[in-house]
């Protein structure tokens, strides 16, 4: 393994310092004992005891909001535990800051890459640990060493390139290589394949197995069952902040894991009511714009039209184009049979289109203002009497949405940032229920939302349909769009490549069309 050795020679003092706590393979390296994390009154992680064995690949599965991210943050020292203990190599440790975690050899590779996009790949790999001589950085030496590591790992990436010029998948590989060359003992992967192509995933898996071969303990967080069964030795399941069990991979199957994860059958979650489809609300003909091309589809009253595809397949772009956020370049939009030109968001809203966008944080919510302001934001012009806002109506509407949607807050004056993912999504929905619409576009409505809220959201869909609205549901989570859509369209690379009626195609068929093998 010339690459890694070379690096450790160059920086024999800086790298691999954490290798001073060797634990024999198969012995506990990190133990959580009744580890608990509370945010105010909300228990993000209920007291959990999980033991990680040296040199194993330990998968952690759970729905969004099950407490996986909290667990990673506790183990990497990003947040402090509320109670419980952590034992590292048999000794109790504080682990309350990231520096301590890194010094002990605990590292994480995050789903979203947290590196500097303007620096080169090599500079990122050596960030904070640069090779110096006489106070000057040895840029060429670093680039060569980094290239050695990358080549050795079989990544075929240029070390001199700017990180930002790589795909997100490639950046993820760089982040992994960075962790690998820092003498990591305990490496956590947080849903690493979410943005990777198949080939990149395969490269990553090879790397993970190789690190395992070198004695590194791997924690692999995912909700893709097939990956868990391909990689892991053992698997722990989290549900709503509770550790519900740990299994050896040979002694379980995906049906058992899914039951553990969601504690109910698929039918109970994916609440689906079928309504007689009414008039056509929306029709697009050959609509093209930034990120999508030649999309033709119709939405009728009382039906859910699902858009499935991988991230970046052009579904959200289509939604934003339709909504007037981005100008469309060609094609036509018909609203209730009439040709319309939706030039901006206000126009879309006035027609009766509502958009709950993909990212609550970036597009959906004003986080550091009160919940009430968010809920009323689209309707302040309606609430205005003369110069000022009708306070009474403003308060009534906010409180009504909070009550109807069961948003868990003591008051409409609490900041939106203080809410959990599920409650935040309800605020976004409340905003559009205040305004009212004929066509609701929900883009990834259940990401980061707990199972209970998910079921509530699906029931709400049925209520909207019952009242004669139509829904466009965008999701990257196949079971969701598959079970809920009256008509399912598959997107790939900005185009609509296939369409199916309710449950007319198999999961595999839809997935294959989305990936395009």
């Amino acid at each position: 393994m010339p690459g890694l050795d070379e690096v450790s020679e160059i920086k024999s003092d800086g790298l691999r310092t954490a290798a001073r706590h060797p634990v024999p393979r198969g012995e506990p390296i990190l133990e959580m004992r009744s580890l608990q994390k509370k945010y105010g009154a909300v228990e993000a992680l209920k007291p959990a005891s999980i033991t990680f064995l040296s040199g194993e690949i330990h998968a952690i599965v759970g729905e969004n909001g099950a407490g996986k991210s909290t667990l990673i943050k506790l183990l990497t020292g990003v947040i402090r535990r509320t109670s419980g203990e952590i034992f590292w190599c048999g000794k109790p440790v504080q682990l309350d800051n990231p520096q301590e975690a890194i010094a002990r050899g605990i590292n994480a590779v995050h789903q979203e890459v947290v590196l500097c996009p303007h620096l080169s790949v090599a500079a990122n790999m050596f960030l904070g640990d640069e090779i110096n001589s006489a106070g000057l950085m040895r840029k060429r030496a670093m680039t060569e060493a980094a290239q050695g590591v990358l080549d050795d790992l079989g990544f075929n990436l240029p070390a001199a390139a700017t990180l930002g010029s790589l795909t997100i998948g490639q950046q993820q590989l760089v982040a992994t290589a960075r962790a690998a060359m820092r003498g990591t003992q305990f490496l956590i992967f947080d849903e690493p394949t979410a943005y990777l192509t198949r080939q990149e995933s395969a490269q990553l898996f090879r790397l993970i197995r190789r690190l395992q071969g070198e004695g590194v303990t791997i924690v692999y967080i995912s909700h893709r069952m097939e990956e868990v069964f391909e990689l892991a030795d053992r698997v722990s399941v989290l549900r709503d902040g509770t550790h519900v069990g740990t299994r050896k991979i040979g002694e379980t199957n995906d049906a058992e894991l899914i039951t553990l994860m969601i504690n109910r059958t698929i039918e109970q979650i994916y609440h689906k009511e079928h309504f007689q489809a009414g008039e056509t609300i929306l029709e697009t003909r050959g609509l093209s714009g930034p990120g999508f091309e030649d999309v033709s589809l119709t939405v009728r009253a009382g039906e859910i039209v699902g858009l499935y595809g991988l991230i970046g397949a052009g579904r959200s772009e289509f939604a934003l184009g339709l909504y007037g956020r981005h100008a469309t370049t060609s094609g036509e939009v018909y609203w209730q049979g009439r040709k319309v030109d939706i030039a901006n968001e206000r126009k879309a809203m006035d027609l009766g289109i509502a958009l709950a966008p993909e990212s609550r944080r970036d597009q959906g919510l004003c986080l550091n203002v009160p919940i009430g302001l968010n809920i009323n934001l689209p309707i302040f012009n309606r609430l205005t009497r003369g110069l000022t806002i009708n306070r009474q109506q403003e308060i009534e509407n906010a409180d009504r949405q909070i009550k109807d949607l069961k948003i868990k807050t003591p008051s409409r004056r609490v900041l939106a940032s203080a809410m959990s993912g599920g409650n935040q999504q309800k605020i976004v929905i409340g905003k559009w229920l205040s305004h009212g619409a004929k066509l609701f576009i929900f883009d990834e409505p259940t990401v980061g939302v707990d199972v209970g809220t998910k079921a509530e959201i699906y029931r709400l869909f049925a209520r909207l349909l019952e009242n004669g609205a139509g829904i466009i549901l965008i999701s990257s989570y196949l079971p969701e769009v598959y079970e809920l859509s009256d008509r399912l369209h598959v997107f790939r690379r900005g185009r609509l490549v296939a369409s199916h009626d309710y449950r007319a195609a198999s999961h595999e068929e839809v997935l294959t069309q989305a990936i395009g093998v």
Partner: protein, 325 residues
């Protein structure tokens, strides 16, 4: 991403209560300073000094209110001091040219509107950061003012105009009445009208505001126009008070305005602010300057004290915010 947002659904205290509490703390600080100075000096609680104090604080207070609108949108207006100097020149120049007083006043305020619109244009259409575009006008406006006056000052002979700043109404200096004239509509605008709500929404997340049908561009125009118009109004008051138009006047007032706003609880990250906060902030600063003069403290110390005060108050405000999470 889910876990860090899984924060308390019941923990944080309702926001309005906190904001009132903070306002009361500031008011308490102001009264405390007045009490202290009353005990420490014989001359503080004299009608003359109080009038003086109210006059000193008035102009910064009006600037700070305008500045606050901009800061709530997560922007900054560095040009307000220069606008004050520039518009003092404009009004003096118009009066010297024989323009009737009320037309001169309207034209001067119109300049404020134009300057604000130009700032918003630079931000919205040219994509310039607020810091840059207002820094550019800061230096340019001083230059234009100096060009107009050829580096000197223009005297104002209109007595009706210059007497105004010395006049009292109901025993209170007319300059202080101007604060009230600005503050009441400002309060209605920011706290009671939908445009105020839009300022907060845009400052918090302009993309979310936009997708909710808020006209983000119009909101930004509004904020910068209001800030510059407040500054032009202060330009009129200053010209009236010193009886001249001079482009180099009001040097550094933009920093006084920003400091008042920040002391008054406005967050430079946007989406947090009020009308009463910057008013109190401005009078706290004025009191410190006034008190330091009365106590014969070296005027250099005043600057140091002001700096320390900004750090202390904003630090406590940060602690409070973190505590609320």
């Amino acid at each position: 991403m889910s876990a860090e947002s899984v924060e308390s659904g019941t923990g944080p205290a309702p926001r309005k209560g906190v904001s009132i509490l903070f306002g009361l703390t500031l008011l308490g600080l102001l009264l405390f300073l007045w009490l202290l100075l009353g005990l420490a000096t014989n001359s503080f609680w004299t009608p003359n000094n109080i009038s003086n104090l109210l006059r000193q604080g008035a102009m910064t207070a009006i600037l700070a209110v305008g500045q606050t609108f901009v800061i709530i949108t997560a922007g900054i207006d560095l040009s307000v001091g220069a606008v004050v100097g520039f518009t003092s020149v404009i009004v003096a120049w118009l009066l010297a040219a024989g323009v009737p007083l009320w037309i001169a006043i309207i034209l001067t305020l119109a300049f404020g509107v134009l300057i604000g619109a130009f700032h918003a244009f630079g931000i919205v259409r040219m994509g310039l950061p607020p810091f840059i575009i207002t820094l550019a006008t800061l230096t340019s406006l001083r230059g234009i003012g100096l060009l107009i006056t050829n580096g000197s000052t223009i005297s104002i002979t209109n007595e009706a105009f210059t007497n105004f700043s010395r006049a009292d109404f109901l025993g209170v200096p007319s300059l202080f009445w101007m604060v009230i004239v600005v503050a009441i509509p400002a309060y209605i605008f920011l706290h009671l009208s939908r445009f105020g709500r839009y300022l907060f929404a845009v400052g918090s997340n302009s993309e979310a505001a936009r997708l909710s049908g808020v006209n983000v561009h119009r909101t930004i125009y509004l904020a910068y126009i209001l800030s510059s118009t407040c500054a032009a109004f202060v330009g009129l008051l200053l010209a009236s008070r010193i009886g001249i138009g001079n482009a180099t006047q009001a040097e550094g007032w933009e920093l006084q305005a920003i400091a008042s706003s920040v002391i008054g609880g406005t967050s430079l990250f946007g989406a947090v602010g009020s009308v009463h906060g910057p008013l109190l902030g401005a009078f706290i600063l004025a009191t410190i300057n006034n008190g330091a003069n009365l106590l014969n403290v070296n005027s250099f110390w005043q600057r140091i004290i002001t700096g320390v005060l900004i750090i202390v108050i904003v630090y406590f405000d940060q602690l409070r915010r973190r505590g609320a999470r």
